[in-house]
């Protein structure tokens, strides 16, 4: 079951993409896809139809919140977890309004990622 989950990681930092990918691989997730900004995330979402998205907020081209709004318009059941170093009240409120399902404050821990996957 976990092996078959399609997960999209969207973050402009290759370090965060790699860290999350390593954590997910360790849990047993094998179908992992990456996007480098909000525009890329929307395109990849439509192409892959993932079960879960890990979305950064502050990114070039298009922010995570803007991408989340568009993804939700395309698929109202999209499951998007916001992962950011800046979970300020303003950004959290914006992400909740946009339809984020959960939040992770960076630095990301494998414990937090495991909990998210367990709840799927």
């Amino acid at each position: 079951m976990i092996r078959e989950l399609k997960i999209l990681i969207c973050d402009d930092s290759l370090i965060i993409r790699r860290t999350l990918k390593d954590m997910l691989n360790e849990i047993g997730c094998k179908k992992i896809y990456e996007a480098v900004n909000g525009v890329d995330a929307i395109e990849k979402y439509k192409e892959i139809d993932p079960d879960l998205v890990f979305m950064d907020i502050i990114m070039p081209e298009k922010s995570g919140v803007e991408a989340l709004i568009e993804i939700k318009k395309y698929d109202e059941n999209a499951n998007v977890v916001v992962v950011s170093s800046a979970l300020t009240q303003k950004y959290v409120k914006a992400a909740i309004s946009a339809g984020a399902s959960e939040f992770i404050q960076k630095p990301v821990s494998s414990y937090q990622v495991q909990k998210i996957i367990d709840r799927l």
Binding site: D12, S13, L14, I15, I16, I58, M59, P60, S84, S85, A86, L87, T88, Q89, K90, Q105, K106, P107, V108, S109, S110, Y111, Q112
Partner: protein, 300 residues
């Protein structure tokens, strides 16, 4: 964090040389009795449990004792007992400098006494000092008080040092900041924060220093200067700035915006207002933190 500022005090008052201070900071790990070691020694935890807590600490922003309780390895009362027996950071540095023969214990105690008097620290235990006192020490050290955003710079630098200790290490001493109008930089991660306060931030250093910084941020990294180094240093800046904005949002109800981080090579920053170069001397070299009150003109 007091340890690092106290280290600078020892340096500036000629108690020790910069080399001796760096060797002392490096030697601290040999002297330090970590809570995990104390827990094993007392029979509260096994080494495997200590390893699990250390592993978790890299991911979760909690102290060793708190996590050990959360994970069911110790009771609060046991953690408190261990904390009481744990040496304080500045004493560990003192012990390291004495063990290395750089200073006598008597001279060290005198220096500590003078430092406490100068900075009006009237506590016997530095760890009990509140954030406010730490802000005061940072403010007195850097003297950002000549312009409007001084308090924000002080808060920024205070949090920055906490994050350096948490993510990079405690083997450093802060050096005096330089006010600048223009600066040429070889490798710089930059990020702009805006809103009620505008702060353009950066981390600058030589390639060799950036590589070591990246290795500290990303323990799996080993290699030459490449995009992984740039990404690691940039992400560290992004993390520090994010946590700074979260702190201002939660504590002061101030909401700021953050632009995506960038890495710039061989550029000159000019037309800067309220700009400071804040050097930090690590055992592996000098890392310069850049704090500017506006977006500078960048010439490639």
């Amino acid at each position: 964090m007091f340890t690092q500022f106290f280290g600078n005090y020892l340096l500036e008052n000629s108690y020790i040389s910069i080399d001796q201070l760096l060797k002392g900071l490096n030697f601290q790990s040999e002297v330090k009795l970590k809570l995990g070691v104390l827990a094993i020694n007392e029979g509260y935890m096994t080494s495997a449990q200590v390893d699990k807590v250390h592993h978790m600490q890299k991911r979760v922003d909690k102290r060793f004792g708190t996590l050990a309780v959360d994970m069911g390895y110790m009771e609060d009362i046991e953690v408190n007992k261990l904390l009481k027996s744990q040496k304080q950071g500045y004493l560990v540095l003192g012990q390291a400098l004495v063990d290395l023969g750089y200073i006598s214990m008597q001279k060290f105690e005198k220096a500590l006494d003078n430092y406490k008097k100068e900075y009006k620290i009237d506590f016997t235990d530095f760890t009990k000092l509140q954030n406010e006192k730490m802000l005061q020490i940072v403010e007195d050290f850097y003297k950002f008080d000549s312009f409007d955003n001084a308090i924000i710079y002080t808060k920024y630098v205070s949090l920055l040092f906490r994050n350096i200790i948490r993510f990079i290490g405690d083997d450093f001493t802060p050096l005096r900041a330089r006010k600048i109008d223009e600066i040429s930089a070889s490798n710089t991660a930059v990020q702009y924060i805006s809103g009620k306060y505008d702060i353009y931030t950066g981390i600058e250093g030589k390639e060799s220093v950036m590589i070591e910084l990246a290795r500290r941020v990303d323990q799996y990294f080993s290699g030459d200067f490449d995009e992984v180094v740039e990404a690691s240093v940039s992400e560290f800046l992004n993390l520090c700035n994010g946590l700074f904005c979260v702190n201002l949002s939660n504590v002061n109800r101030v909401e700021l915006d953050i632009e995506p981080q960038e890495f710039l090579k061989k550029v000159t920053f000019s037309d800067m207002q309220d700009a400071f170069f804040v050097p930090v001397k690590f055992t592996f070299g000098v890392v310069n933190f850049l704090i500017v009150g506006n977006i500078p003109t960048i010439i490639e």
